[in-house]
């Protein structure tokens, strides 16, 4: 509770005492947005942890070997992630739903086990030291980027692009009957998602002194999905709220930090059962009453069911 009291009564003190947490929330929020973009076009992808790794390693390797300003390294990392996204998208975007998810898991693991652990320049299994990291300075680009990215993605969902994505998500066949080039628009969403994930990965390296290959496994991919699903995927605010809530949870409940993944799992299950549309979505604060939930256990004073 102290956590929230300080957040609202003493924001500056909160910022100073939780800088690393805020930076991590920001990175996770950008990752959640990157997943949201592909999700908005109806694609369930878990590849974003892999794109994140591409962005992270590229940025650190460039800053280790090339005398270029950091923003260029970050940009290069993001663009390379987008390019990898395009190449991965060529074969896998023919798949839908759970099959796409499985194929993208395959990509994440192949990248980590096949490429990162075998390329000497990535430090193989040892990871990479990043002496140029600047945890406190690294927060600034994150705090600036997040609202900017959120705004851009929000506007994108209202553009011709966004309407085409929504149509594809709802019904691909009908979308093509409306003259929408389904393959093209799915690819655009996938590449934007890869770009944002790569950018988040690049930013994250700047707040850690060490790039650890185990960070970019399927576990991370599912964590990103959890942020978006728990927060809600009807608009861009949902993933941000989900990332904020789940990242700060160990701070809110100190006792829970050791069981972080367990608590995250329980929260995800509760959200799916009682609030299937996610925390941020239409329907006010209505709680969904599952069919098996006895009528008499109704939540007092609240509508029993949305739908």
């Amino acid at each position: 509770m102290d956590f929230f009291i300080q957040l609202f009564t003493d924001p500056i003190g909160f910022y100073n005492s939780h800088e690393l947490l805020i930076a991590q929330i920001g990175v996770n929020a950008i990752l959640a947005i990157s997943l949201f973009v592909t999700f908005y076009s109806g694609q369930l992808t878990l590849a974003n942890a892999g794109f994140m790794a591409v962005g992270a390693y590229t940025t650190v390797i460039m800053s280790l070997y090339l005398p270029l300003p950091l923003p260029i390294d970050i940009l290069a990392g993001s663009l390379l992630a987008a390019a990898v996204g395009f190449l991965v998208g060529l074969p896998v975007l023919r798949l839908r739903g759970i099959f796409l998810a499985i194929a993208t898991i395959g990509f994440v693991e192949a990248l980590r086990l096949g490429v990162i652990l075998n390329l000497p320049i990535t430090g193989e299994g040892q990871g990479l030291k990043n002496p140029t990291a600047d945890p406190l300075g690294g927060i600034v680009p994150i705090v600036i980027s997040l609202p900017l990215i959120a705004y851009l993605v929000w506007r994108l969902t209202h553009s011709k692009l966004g309407h085409a994505w929504a149509a594809i998500r709802e019904d691909e066949l009908a979308a093509s009957s409306n003259g929408i080039n389904v393959a093209l628009y799915k690819m655009i969403a996938f590449v934007i998602g890869a770009l944002l994930a790569g950018y988040a990965g690049a930013l994250e390296t700047h707040i850690n002194f060490f790039v650890d290959p185990t960070e970019y496994s399927v576990t991370r991919a599912i964590q990103i999905l959890t942020f978006a699903v728990a927060g809600g995927t009807t608009n861009v605010v949902g993933p941000i709220v989900g990332a904020f809530f789940l990242t700060s949870l160990p701070e809110i409940i100190r006792q829970a930090s050791a069981y972080r993944d367990v608590v995250n799992g329980v929260i995800l299950i509760l959200v799916i059962i009682f609030r299937p549309q996610g925390i941020v979505a239409g329907g006010g604060l209505a709680i969904h009453r599952p069919r098996w939930w006895p009528e008499s256990w109704r939540f007092r004073g609240r509508p029993a069911s949305v739908n």
């Binding site: 709802e170 093509s176 009957s177």
Partner: protein, 528 residues
């Protein structure tokens, strides 16, 4: 006026099935063209070929007036849409979770300038375009009879069924098409709604739009179309004005089926004038409680799919030892009735009792154990399993392995077609052989009442004979049968009694022989 769409020798087969077999037709600019044919005739496949969902295998599809024509075959669906071919879908395909407005806006995609940068920088100077677009979306909603203020902001999935159909038309119009293809726009609608669909089609045509209409409601098709083509087994069997089509003997045969060759083809009503002159259809009080051997009793059954009321106030009964047929055109609700009896669907209201068991409250597997077994439409044999394995699955609910084994042997003897192929994958059997396999599989569940759904669907005439021989044989051995058929004449030949179903209701009933002579049966199929 020139042709807007010209199909020449278009072909498409799926495996061994010729779905569209050398169809040529011409749709004149400014006309309403009807495409009809029995279930499985290839109508929707033809639409999918024209709109690019399925590539053609040969033949050409050309769009355009005299001078500039463009080949549509083998183009992507979105490219064809942008060339000006819009369509609606037989099963509604709205963006259910988007508002009605957004559905129309998505439909405008192809005619909308790229505005992503404008959206990112929403400066006042850029606001003109979106406002014009919203006004156009409102106008489109109004054009199909929806109120932009009332219906526009609502999620498409929450609109009434008829409104959803209309919204789909508005979305198709948003692309500013030259040709609008309506795939069963009136399916599942009540007569009042159908009249509104007819008005809408005529109004759109009056505004200069060329329309290709596919529907099973003959009154609608005959009423609005300038020209009609009839498909059967993938071939065009007739093409002409509504009047010539409705009296074409080949068309009547395609819809009502053919009697067994021995009795010669006869058309219901052809002799009715002399036999039962002006006699009212003998309407027996449907569902009157039968004698002590009544097996199935259905009362006031109502079944709905969401907002679509597929079955309305249906009552009927079957006595032990009968063959009863439900006949009627495609989409009348026959299969829905069967699926409700076998517990796959649940009724909205009304009751269905089978030997004292309430079918509305019993799970499908229990219903099978009680002896009510359905042989589904389209056969549904498991293509990769062998004939024997398919049969063994039919006895899944039984524990007496020995007896099952004996019965499978007996079935192999009885249906040599199956016996000879017992180790072949069922997918390699012909359609008729698969149908016999499906029936044999049903028999292994030891039915007291066997429900047969369209056993002659898509079969060649001699295979139809074989299947009906099997049906008669099973009945002679003591199984009660409820038969659902589009092939009305064949069904009436074997049935003791029959019920004619039209748009979810039982229209008339009588003995098989009576109905064969009754002109109202033909009306139920072909309108009039």
């Amino acid at each position: 006026m020139g042709a807007l769409l010209q199909l020449t020798e278009v072909r498409r087969h799926f495996g061994g099935v010729q779905a569209v077999d050398g169809v040529s037709l011409q749709i004149d600019a400014g006309s309403i063209f009807g495409l009809i044919g029995p279930n499985g005739a290839g109508k929707t496949t033809l639409v999918n070929l024209v709109t690019g969902y399925i590539p053609t295998q040969s033949g050409s599809i050309r769009l355009g007036d005299d001078g500039a024509t463009v080949e549509l075959g083998r183009r992507r669906p979105d490219v064809i849409a942008r060339l000006g071919v819009a369509r609606t879908f037989q099963t509604l395909r709205l963006y259910r979770n988007l508002s009605a407005f957004d559905n129309v806006l998505a439909g405008m995609h192809a005619r909308r300038p790229q505005d992503t940068l404008q959206q990112i920088a929403p400066l006042p100077a850029f606001q003109h375009e979106p406002r014009a677009r919203l006004a156009r979306a409102s106008a489109l909603l109004e054009r199909v009879g929806l109120k932009p203020d009332e219906h526009g902001p609502r999620r498409a999935g929450t609109l009434a069924y008829g409104d959803q159909r209309r919204l789909e038309v508005a979305r198709a119009l948003a692309i500013e098409p030259r040709l609008l293809i309506l795939d069963e726009p009136a399916a599942g609608m009540n007569p009042v709604e159908k009249d509104r669909v007819r008005d809408l089609i005529q109004q759109l045509n009056a505004d200069g739009l060329t329309i290709l209409l596919i529907d099973h409601d003959m009154r609608l098709v005959m009423g609005v179309c300038n020209r009609i083509a009839v498909l059967n087994f993938g071939r065009k069997i007739a093409d002409g004005s509504p009047a010539t089509i409705s009296s074409d003997p080949e068309v009547i045969t395609a819809y009502l089926g053919r009697q067994a060759d021995k009795s010669g083809a006869r058309v219901p009503g052809a002799q009715a004038a002399t036999v039962t002159t002006a006699a009212r259809p003998s309407v027996v009080a449907a569902g009157a409680p039968g004698g002590p051997n009544r097996m199935l009793e259905v009362r006031d059954l109502e079944v709905a799919y969401g907002a679509i009321r597929a079955v309305r106030e249906v009552s009927f009964g079957i006595d032990e030892g009968e063959i009863v047929a439900l006949i009627g055109a495609n989409g009348a609700g026959k299969t829905t009735i069967l699926n409700t009896l076998s517990g796959i669907l649940r009724p909205l209201s009304g009751s269905a009792r089978f030997l004292g068991v309430d079918l509305a409250a019993t799970s499908p597997d229990r219903i099978v154990r009680q002896g009510l077994v359905q042989v589904p439409e389209g056969r549904e044999v498991l293509a990769r399993l062998t004939v024997r394995e398919n049969l063994e699955l039919g006895a899944w609910v039984r524990r007496d392995r020995q007896a099952v084994h004996r019965e499978i042997e007996a079935l192999n003897q009885r249906f040599p077609i199956l016996g000879r192929r017992r180790d072949l994958p069922a997918g390699q059997l012909s359609g008729g052989e698969q149908q016999i396999l499906a029936i044999a599989r049903g028999l292994l569940a030891r039915p007291k009442l066997l429900l047969l759904d369209e056993p002659s669907l898509g079969l060649a005439p001699q295979m139809v004979d074989a299947v009906f021989d099997v049906i008669r044989q099973i009945h002679d051995e003591g199984t009660t049968i409820l038969l659902v058929e589009q092939n009305a004449l064949r069904a009436l030949e074997v049935a003791d009694r029959a019920y004619v179903v039209e748009t979810g209701r039982i229209l008339l009933t009588g003995s098989g022989a009576e109905l064969r002579q009754n002109p109202a049966v033909q009306k139920a199929y072909l309108g009039g």
